[in-house]
């Protein structure tokens, strides 16, 4: 049984057990445009909720990707190094960035569920 949560910075995290798979939302990839480079953290790196986790670059600009929760990076999506365009093609699936072993599942309470995120997007216009 997995659940997916969202941040106001347009990251998603899908929780399975005590590990969360993290990516950016389809809305975010649409705003960025063509992704040409993704910089991922090293496996084993400790990340903090709301802190820098990865970088995604489009033709025009570089953007930070923030960690939705605190924890340890246990896996990164190396496929993105050679094929960063996967983020555009499948942001919610094959375009995932990292897997984080959660330090505190209680932090998930601060994130939005799908309905709340959709409402948040609607309010952005």
């Amino acid at each position: 049984m997995s659940e997916t949560k969202y941040t106001q910075e347009h990251e998603w995290i899908r929780i399975e057990g005590d590990v969360g798979t993290v990516g950016i939302t389809d809305y975010a990839q649409g705003q960025l445009g063509d992704v040409v480079y993704v910089e991922l953290p090293a496996v084993g790196k400790a990340v903090k909720q709301g802190g820098d986790m990865a970088v995604v670059e489009s033709v025009k600009a570089a953007s930070e990707v923030y960690a939705p929760v605190s924890g340890e990076v246990v896996e990164v999506n190396d496929e993105l190094t050679g094929a960063p365009e996967t983020v555009n093609a499948d942001a919610d699936g094959k375009g995932w960035f990292v897997k984080i072993k959660l330090a505190d599942k209680g932090q998930l309470a601060a994130l939005m569920d799908k309905a709340a995120y959709d409402k948040f997007l609607a309010e952005l216009g």
């Binding site: 040409v36 910089e39 670059e57 025009k60």
Partner: protein, 371 residues
């Protein structure tokens, strides 16, 4: 966006067309301009290199200089040999300041009974004021605010243009002529800022949308936004004012010595001539160079350039991803001793030095029409 900023934002005569085409509009140099259309920057860039792209560059300043000896008078403000231009010929030049820095880059065309000048959107107010203040009162500075400027660029541009104005296709790179297109009086130049063959068309505002729509109806032509305009000019090794050149850079540092005519080098007589000619003779302390990062990480503007000994050599002034190159590209300034192609440097991206090489520009060979 607040109401106040909306009111202050200017619109070109093609604004409605951009919106109708689904463009993402952004503020640029005081105008609400299309940064990209639904196809996206990458696809637009590739299309311009493969076929032909239509750009709205109406935000740029179009000015006529009318009066006796206008070419000679303009030479007091620029280092280019303007007097050598025969009717129909055009040239890239620079407004320089007293210390040899660059106030703007511009294109000057000898249009027969006047000079036709095109300046950057972001600089046009001060450029116009500069010309009005510094040119003799016998030269009339007439701003063509009622004219749009369209650029048709790409390997298929000439094929498309031939259907509208066969006369235009006879022009060679950096020449120009007045002609009718679909019955409308236009001024057409064979020029552009993409590295590709192409044309720029000056046309009355009220006729611009009809021509733009007609050009876009041709199978080879797609609209191109400012995003791809930037990546195209970067691959072509061309300077963007305010980034790669500004009041702190001399034309020699910027690698634009070719824009200073032989006669002007001998005679001087332009602002900052002492400094510029000294740089020309003795070498500039720093140089604008092309930089090819190793790996995939783009190095953006203001990225520090270091020697392999970690000493700072300068910084990146334009950097990003070159869709035709298929990887990151940049340009920036380095100390003169490091300007030779093949020199290995480091780019400090997010705190980490990453290897890169100084390379000759352009990154993509230009395809100007020079029969």
């Amino acid at each position: 966006m607040s109401d106040a900023s909306t009111e202050q934002t200017l619109r070109t005569s093609l604004h409605g067309l951009h919106v109708a085409l689904g463009a993402k509009m952004v503020p640029f140099a005081g105008y609400d301009m299309p940064v990209q259309y639904p196809a996206g920057i990458m696809a637009e860039h590739q299309h311009c290199r493969a076929e032909a792209g239509l750009f709205d560059v109406s935000h740029m300043g179009q000015v006529k200089l009318i009066g006796p000896d206008a070419a000679k008078a303009l030479e007091a403000l620029v280092p280019g040999d303007i007097q050598a231009l025969k009717p129909g010929e055009m040239r890239y030049t620079l407004f320089t300041n007293e210390t040899g820095g660059i106030l703007d880059d511009l294109i000057v065309t000898n249009a027969g009974d006047h000079l036709f000048v095109v300046v950057n959107a972001g600089c046009k107010a001060q450029d116009i004021a500069h010309m009005k203040a510094k040119l003799p009162s016998s030269i009339k500075v007439e701003v063509l605010a009622d004219h749009a400027l369209l650029a048709l660029q790409g390997p298929s541009a000439a094929k498309v243009m031939a259907r509208f104005a066969p006369e235009a296709v006879k022009l060679r790179f950096m020449t120009a002529a007045a002609m009718k297109i679909q019955g409308v009086d236009c001024f057409v130049t064979r020029s552009g800022y993409t590295g590709e063959d192409g044309f720029e068309i000056s046309i009355p505002n009220d006729k611009a949308e009809a021509l733009a729509k007609a050009l876009l109806a041709e199978p080879e032509v797609k609209p191109i936004g400012l995003g791809a305009r930037d990546s195209l000019r970067l691959e072509a090794g061309l300077c963007l004012y305010g980034h790669d050149i500004d009041q702190s850079t001399t034309p020699i540092e910027a690698g634009l010595a070719w824009a200073i005519g032989k006669r002007r080098r001998e005679e001087g007589g332009f602002p900052g001539a002492d400094m510029i000619l000294a740089h020309l003779k003795g070498g500039a302390p720093r140089r604008r160079v092309g930089i090819l990062p190793e790996g995939r990480a783009p190095a953006r503007e203001h990225t520090q350039i270091q020697g392999t000994d970690e000493r700072a050599l300068g910084e990146v002034t334009s950097g990003g991803f070159g869709p035709t190159v298929g990887g990151p590209i940049a340009m920036g300034y380095v100390e003169a001793a490091y300007a030779k192609p093949g020199t290995v440097v480091n780019l400090v991206v997010r705190g980490t030095p990453r290897p890169a090489q100084v390379v000759a520009m352009p990154f993509v060979p230009n395809r100007y029409f020079k029969p």
